[in-house]
């Protein structure tokens, strides 16, 4: 047992010293991720992208005034970049990237509506990115809804004014009806009843008109509004939201890369032949390497996390011990995956290529960019076979929600890690016995 520990310790020291002997590598490993997060925060300060919008109004248009009021008021999504009276000129601006949107105001909108047809706003964009396309469509919908609301509000306000002018006549008609009803002889009950009904109707209309005039036009046009509230008391910036995923992705990538180069390099240098003659087992070799990289990565993770939380002010709502457990499990599983790559690769280059493939798969399938709930169900098998998927979920839950992920997440990643470790052990035994 004592010799077992001595043999394991040989790798602990060796791997550590080899990494520490490359100060540039350490600087890159520690400050690289921090710099990426810092630059990411600088690059994406806003939550939505305002669109430079050019309006095309051909001839006299009754909507012109409403559009001016809307676009000139402070607006997070629409920036007025001019009004053209020629659609082709506006589209040329769009092609030259001088504007993001061209909105063609429907000509003669009132006539179209009076003819019982919807007046159509034509909106042009030059996006090829499907997500930006969806964003532009969403902005366009919001824009048309807002115009509809403003037009309705304007019409409602006009109606209220007109109702105001009609109300004295109504009240006069009500008074006259009342006088006539009182003048009818008591024997003529039929006429008296009809006049009483008319008087009642006029009273109701008058009350409704009063109510109509007393309500705000905004409430009449949009009687319902919405207010959303997350369970978390903290509002996250894009950097805050992405930070846990960035930390996980970087730690996974570093672990996979370190481990994937480790054994393949030794197989090529020839020292594996020495290990085979020495009283060194595959388990001792693997445990030694695991421990050395695990300790190194934990230190690295601690520094990156410290910089993220205390310098970049990334929120940390959960418990530090939960965070530590999640990080250790992720590093262990990523190292196991890296050693597997190392054992199946023939050359250094191949190992690097496989590591890059793991990184790419992680970016696309781990939920880093796209929510896993959007994924086609059968494909989630791919997502949940990547350590980063579990890691991102665990860290987002701990850091952003302040809670632990369900046990199945911890069990899932641990099972993958142990599975990879056992395969690594078997493969290394085969290599060392050959």
């Amino acid at each position: 047992m004592f010799k077992f520990l001595i043999r394991i310790s040989s790798f602990l020291g060796k791997e550590f010293v080899e990494i520490l002997r490359q100060p540039r590598l350490i600087l890159t490993l520690v400050f690289g991720p921090f710099l990426i997060m810092f630059l990411f925060g600088l690059a994406y300060p806003e939550q939505s992208r305002p669109l430079r919008t050019t309006f095309v109004v051909e001839g006299q248009n009754p909507l012109q005034e409403q559009i001016n009021i809307f676009t000139d008021s402070p607006n997070p999504v629409i920036i007025n970049s001019g009004v053209e009276n020629n659609k082709d000129m506006a589209l040329a601006k769009l092609k030259r990237n001088q504007t993001d949107l061209v909105v063609v105001i429907p000509p003669n909108p009132l006539e179209t509506i009076q003819n019982n047809q919807q007046a159509e706003f034509l909106i042009y964009h030059n996006e090829v990115d499907p997500f930006q396309d969806a964003y532009v469509q969403s902005v366009a919908r919001i824009y048309v809804d807002e115009i509809n609301r403003r037009v309705l509000k304007m019409v409602t306000e006009q109606g209220q004014v007109e109702a105001g002018s009609a109300q004295p006549s109504l009240e006069s008609a009500l008074a006259k009806t009342k006088a006539i009803r009182e003048a009818v002889p008591p024997s003529d009950t039929t006429t008296a009843t009809q006049l009483a009904d008319l008087e009642q109707d006029l009273t109701t209309v008058n009350e409704n008109l009063t109510t109509f005039r007393s309500l705000g036009s905004g409430v009449l046009v949009s009687p319902f509004t919405v207010r959303t509230s997350g369970l978390s008391e903290v509002t996250f910036t894009p950097t805050g939201f992405f930070a846990p995923a960035v930390i996980i992705l970087l730690l996974q990538h570093l672990s996979v890369t370190f481990a994937s180069l480790s054994i393949v390099r030794e197989r090529h240098s020839g020292i594996m032949e020495l290990f085979r003659v020495a009283p060194l087992t595959a388990l001792e070799t693997l445990l030694g390497k695991f421990l050395s990289y695990l300790v190194f990565e934990i230190i690295l993770a601690a520094i990156i996390t410290g910089l993220a939380v205390w310098v970049l002010k990334i929120p940390m709502l959960g418990q530090w011990q939960d965070y530590a457990v999640a990080i250790v499990i992720l590093i262990f599983t990523s190292l196991a995956l890296g050693f597997l790559i190392s054992l199946i690769s023939q050359t250094d280059t191949q190992a690097v290529q496989y590591s890059m493939l793991v990184l790419l798969a992680s970016i696309f399938f781990s939920g880093f960019f796209l929510d896993l709930r959007l994924m086609w169900k059968p494909m989630t098998v791919v997502a949940w076979s990547i350590p980063a998927t579990y890691g991102i979920r665990m860290l987002q839950d701990i850091m952003l929600r302040g809670e632990l992920s369900p046990a199945i997440i911890f069990l899932g990643i641990s099972a993958i890690g142990i599975g990879f470790f056992l395969i690594d052990w078997l493969l290394l035994r085969r290599h060392m016995e050959r």
Binding site: K3, F4, I6, R7, S9, S10, F11, G13, K14, V17, E18, R21, Q22, S269, G270, I271, E273, L274, F275, R276, V277, A278, P279, L280, T281, E284
Partner: protein, 324 residues
């Protein structure tokens, strides 16, 4: 009955092979190797590059399993070495396999760890570095060492666990003659300390430093003998050189070739000097002196020739070619 239990096993041998054969596909790397290495000896395994020396070492260290035949090293089949068996073996690989990013000290310390050497080993490791004359360079990165220093570091790493049996695969390849000589001094000292050394080399001249030499050619072990025995086998006896004042004429040479203790033709070196192969130099020299006096020849020099091993090796290969 297992090989180790056979009665013809010689006592005190740390390596024994019987018809040891290794094939890679259709190609035979080592064919029917039969040899033994006595405990405490230096066994030189000599042959040109690609003749099967390294494959033999790999068979004896348990890296390869034989296709047929058997090997017994330290009383065990190398394929079934236990950890304690492995601790008795040191292996120096042909190329430098240690870590260039680590210092001399870190490399030797790493080697000591993976052999499971006690952590209180500083003194032992310092002695080793002194032995290979690297004590002053212990803080140098291995990547910055010269070829010779790397070899010495590798040798030190092979010795960290004080192995009983050392397999040194071409330890002197690619280094200058002075350093090669120094390496053989190390090996002699290791032998004096009680180690057994199995050394492969393609420098035929190094056979002279060995107690026993195995000559390997195209996967076959042509012969195993002492360096002198090898010479005798190569030439069919001892080589004696004679120089006379009067010169050795044709009639004299014919007479010498007819003597019962001579073998083959007399070789003319120059007008005054000849070389000849005899059964036994110690008995032939007095007889040759008598013969010279009878022929009224004044002998200026008569001695047993120490033929260069390069020539010995070529002779052995030539003989082998004839046999084939």
């Amino acid at each position: 009955m297992g090989f180790t239990e056979k009665k013809d096993l010689r006592e005190g041998n740390v390596v024994l092979t019987k018809d040891l054969t290794k094939k890679f596909g259709e190609q035979t790397a080592v064919a029917s190797l039969n040899m033994y290495v006595p405990k405490g000896s230096i066994f030189g395994f000599i042959g040109p590059s690609g003749c099967g020396k390294t494959t033999t070492v790999r068979l004896l260290t348990g890296i390869h399993e034989p296709t047929s035949g058997e090997a017994i090293v330290l009383g065990k089949n190398p394929a079934h070495f236990s950890d304690s068996d492995k601790e008795k073996i040191g292996y120096l690989i042909q190329q430098f396999v240690l870590y260039p990013q680590l210092t001399v000290w870190e490399n030797i310390n790493f080697a000591a760890s993976f052999y499971g050497v006690n952590p209180f080993r500083r003194g032992h490791l310092h002695k080793l570095l002194d032995f290979v004359e690297l004590a002053d360079d212990k803080r140098k990165l291995a990547g910055n060492l010269s070829g010779g220093m790397k070899r010495r570091l590798s040798l030190a790493a092979t010795l960290v666990h004080n192995p009983e049996l050392l397999f040194l695969d071409e330890p002197t390849a690619g280094i200058d003659p002075i350093l090669r000589r120094k390496f053989w001094d190390y090996f002699k000292e290791l032998q004096a300390q009680g180690h057994t050394l199995f050394i492969t080399t393609q420098y035929v001249g190094e056979a002279a430093y060995c107690d026993l030499v195995g000559v390997m050619y195209e996967g076959r072990l042509l012969m195993v003998d002492t360096p002198d025995g090898l010479r005798r086998k190569a030439y069919g006896g001892d080589v004696i050189g004679i120089r006379t004042t009067e010169g050795v004429r044709f009639e004299h040479r014919r007479q010498l070739e007819g003597q019962p203790f001579t073998h083959g033709k007399v070789k003319v070196i120059n007008d005054q000097e000849i070389e000849m192969v005899v059964d036994e130099a110690s008995t032939a020299i007095p007889l040759l002196v008598e013969w010279s006096q009878a022929q009224r020849l004044t002998v200026e020099m008569i001695e047993q020739k120490s033929t260069p091993f390069d020539d010995v090796f070529v002779k052995i290969i030539e003989k082998e070619a004839v046999n084939v």
